[in-house]
Every structure is written in structure tokens, then in C-alpha cells.
Symmetry: C2
Subunit: 209 residues, 2 copies
Amino acid sequence: MPNKKNEDLPGKTVERLSQYRRLLFNSLQEGKTNIYSHELARLMNLTPVQVRRDLMLIGYSGSQSKGYIIKDLVNLIGKIIDSDTGQRIAIVGMGNLGRAITSYFLGKREKLSIVAAFDNDPQKTDRIIAGVPCHHINKLKEIVPAESISIAVLTVAPEATYEVAKQLLEAGIKGILNYTSVPLTVPEGVHLEEYDIITSLEKLAFHVK
Amino acid sequence: MPNKKNEDLPGKTVERLSQYRRLLFNSLQEGKTNIYSHELARLMNLTPVQVRRDLMLIGYSGSQSKGYIIKDLVNLIGKIIDSDTGQRIAIVGMGNLGRAITSYFLGKREKLSIVAAFDNDPQKTDRIIAGVPCHHINKLKEIVPAESISIAVLTVAPEATYEVAKQLLEAGIKGILNYTSVPLTVPEGVHLEEYDIITSLEKLAFHVK
DNA sequence: TTATTATTGTGAAAAAAATTACAACTTACA
DNA sequence: TGTAAGTTGTAATTTTTTTCACAATAATAA
């Protein structure tokens, strides 16, 4: 039994692990093999202690002389945040944002794949967009289970949000990443992550003021 | 001197104020005039106490019988998070994401306006896209000061991020909202907000796992 | 009038996250 | 050999954020 530890990793640490991995991957490709906590911290805009603490929490040990072995660290992070079997994702709403996410994401992660898109515009449905088959939204309940999709990225218009979310839940979705400006509520056992661009802009504007 | 208070509002509270306002605005349009903390909490997926505490922090008082007066609250939040003069924003990188943000945002906020876009693709420059004039990126240093742009939304390709950020800083930008996957460092006095879609997806995937 | 219920406001406690401080180790080199 | 410099690992502290607990108040109904 490796670690029950994973489930009680601080949420912030999980976020950072994902970012560490991307940066470490870049470093690998630049030919680096080892990295010190202060180097990684600099890339991430963090303090070295925070890096060390995060790595401590996942049980990774470096050496005083060489720091951390990038390859090992990348693998370990993968063991922690990736699922063994891989997870399948649907983009719901193929507007600008849906397409942006799809094309940005495509092929970037081995264990996460966008396998379907949905839209209500007949112009967009029943063809392949940005490399992903786009279905009419009324096929949601059929395709989500058939394709073993566990995660949905919601990028529909605000007024459609509620109804589409309802269908996703009925289709047995396990996680929703909600980019609409309409806050959702989901039942126990379903995970929800919300992000609103205007909120971020207003927060930034407040601090700039 | 109204309140130095504003500057030391907790960051999380500022984020929530922006969201409160949007939801309150919806309620107003539905004809509601008053709202209780538990109602607002429900809309936001928060506890009533947290709502009350946030409002306490901005110095707004409700009544035990009627709760909060929506109109007054909307105005007060505006006084706190909006700048008096308004703030001008540029979208840098007019790909799918840049266009998504632009069209999503257009006209939504009185005190925040997207006044320019930049791209390096001649197909896109020197014309109006999603209602905003799109310039070639090499005019950045000229147009940012000329248009009094204080905030930039970065949606360029990863490999261009560093160079474009440098130019923005040289042009005197005050805040950057970075949607590329490349973490930036900015000098003292410039505000930076970073968001990465893949990180969010991976975090969600981790919890769904 | 007097309970009863529902609400706000807020001090105090708890929980989560970040930072400080420092012991322990490794290497380089005088 | 011994010491100086640079590193990791982690306990302890501090800071930030959330939650708990409850007093105060208003409206309602018995």
C-alpha cells in the first residue's frame, strides 16, 4: 500500500505539482538532468523552501550535492497526479473558448485525453473540430457513458449552463471544470472547479488601481 | 480619506466581491430588491457566515428583517473594486483564446474596457476583430502609452511569451494577466496574475481519480 | 405582553498555507 | 585535516482564510 498520503496532499501542492512537472519537462528537454530547489523556485516564482516542502510532502528526497534528479521527479509526480488508466475528457461548448482549450491541450498529456466535443450548433456537429469529433449536445447522455468520459469542461453560453450541467450529471460525469460565469452546485461525489475570467480581470484591476 | 481599508482587503474577498456583484446584478434584473446572506451564499456555493464576513469587511450593514439591499450593495462593491477613471485593457495574442476573452468581455463592465488587441499575424492586424482594433505586435510600445493601457491579457504562444512580456513591461504596463503556460517574473510595482488551464484540468483529474 | 423564530455582526477558534530558523550533510579546498 | 560554502529536510512559527459560537436585534404570533 504505497500511500494514502496522496489524498491528503494540500490542494495548493497538487496545483504546484502539475506546474513543477511542466517546467521540469522543459528543463529535461534543454538537457538538464538535475535541479536545485532554488532553481525550480525561481522558475515558479516561489521560495526554495516551498519547493522543498512540496517535494517532502510527496516523499521525494534529493541530494545535497546534486539537488533533485529531474527525470525521477517527473516520474514521481506522474505517479501521484496521473491516473493509471488515463482519464477521458469532453469539451462542452465549441465556441472560441472550447476550441482554444482543445487545440491548446491536444496531445499535451498522455493520461488525459479530450475524446469528444459537444455543441448545439448544427454547423459544428457531426464533424471533427480541432482534432476532436463534435457531437450535438442532445447526444450527451448517450456518448458520455459510451466513451467512458469522466470529466467535462463547460464552455457554453451562460443561459445554457444550468441545463447542460444537469444533463452532464445525469450522464454520470465525475468532474466539471466550469468556465461559464454561472456558478454551479453539484451533488456529493462530483468534483467541481470554477473559473471566471472577468473575476480575474477585476481582481487584477483592483490591485493595479 | 474614505478608507485605506480597501488595500488590505483579503485577496479572496476581492475575488468574491466581483462574483457577488455579478450575481446580485442578476437578482436585480429578476426584480429582487433585497437578499439574505444565506441566499447569496447559496448562489455562490459559500456559507452564509462567509458572506456576512466579507460584507462586514467592506463596511456594509444589512438589516435583520430585510437582509441586504441589493442596489446599495452593488454600488458599494463598485466603489471598492472599480477605479474612478476606468481602466484600459489590451489583449495580446488574438488566437482562439484572445478572441474568446474579447467577445465574452465586450461591454460587460463599465469601468474596464478592452481598447486594443495585438497579434503578429498580418492576416489579423490592422483591422477590427470582435469589435476591437488589432495592431501588429511591433506597435506595442507605441500604442500602450498612447492609449493609456494599464492592463494586458497575455494569450500568445508559449515561445513568444517572454519577449512579449518584456515589451509590455518596457511599454509601462501595470498589470499582466498571463494565460500562457510560461510563468513570468515582473518587477516590483507591476501586478501579475497567472492562470493555466492544464493545471486546473490536472488538479480536477487528480481529485476525480 | 411574552415567547419564538430568523436574521445580522463579530470575537474567538480552527484549519490551511507560507515562512522562518536551523540541524545535518556534502563538497571543495586551504 | 579542518573549515567554509552551499544544499536538503523539517520543526516551529506566523500569516491567511474559514468556521464556530453566540450576542443583539427585529418581526411574528401566541
